[in-house]
């Protein structure tokens, strides 16, 4: 398994175009802090909302980079 933590966003995008699932996971993990910060209800993080946001983000990424796949 290759370590993706030091790879730039540009390289991650290139790998994502080549259907690299690990790059997708890395992008999700890099944006996880932002997802949690946006999933707050009355100042507290709601894990259900965060999970829903993760799923929506994942689908958006898949549709952007792998448009031919059906989800």
């Amino acid at each position: 398994m290759m370590d993706y933590s030091d790879i730039s966003f540009e390289q991650l995008c290139d790998r994502l175009v080549q259907c690299d699932v690990q790059a997708l996971e890395e992008i999700l993990s890099r944006f996880d802090h932002y997802i949690l910060s946006q999933s707050k209800i009355r100042g507290e993080i709601d894990e259900d909302v965060a999970q829903q946001v993760r799923q929506a983000f994942l689908i958006a990424l898949q549709q952007r980079f792998w448009p031919k796949e059906k989800f």
């Binding site: 966003f9 992008i27 944006f31 946006q38 999933s39 709601d46 909302v49 990424l61």
Partner: protein, 142 residues
């Protein structure tokens, strides 16, 4: 000789300029990709929070309907007031007023706590509560 060196210099300059442009373009792409990701997350979070709020309100209305059913059962054992009147009176209240009545009288929350639960102000709860009581009283007294 001078001409050739000038040409080489020019080529080098063009090469440097082109690589710089390429870098700027890549940087722009990366920036726009990050911005796109952030906007997707922001919109998804707004949608999820809205759905969550709707779901909670729907569950509260469902609870109130269950509560209404238990009241009807309770009243059917007593002579006052009768089942039809309770049902009719509760139908006069809006869904939000039913929720407020339930939270205040069954769960025993204060108006401020009810306001926190429904994401509104205590004044609005007070107004809705008073309106609900007035509606029930008018309905009961005819």
């Amino acid at each position: 000789m001078l001409c050739v060196s000038l040409f080489r210099l020019n080529l080098r300059f063009l090469k440097w300029k082109w690589s710089g442009l390429k870098e700027v373009k890549n940087l722009d792409n990366t920036k726009s990709f990050i911005a796109w990701c952030k906007s997707v997350i922001r919109h998804a979070a707004l949608n999820a929070i809205r759905d969550h709020k709707r779901y909670r309100e729907r569950m509260l209305v469902h609870d109130v309907d269950m509560f209404h059913g238990s009241i009807v059962e309770w009243t059917s054992r007593d002579t006052f007031p009768d089942q039809r009147e309770w049902a009719w009176m509760f139908e006069l209240l809006s869904g939000r007023e039913r929720i407020i009545i339930k939270l205040l009288y069954i769960h025993g929350y204060s108006q401020r706590e009810t306001a926190c639960l429904l994401h509104t102000t205590q004044q609005k709860i007070s107004i809705a509560h008073r309106h609900a009581i007035e509606t029930l009283r008018e309905a009961w007294l005819g």
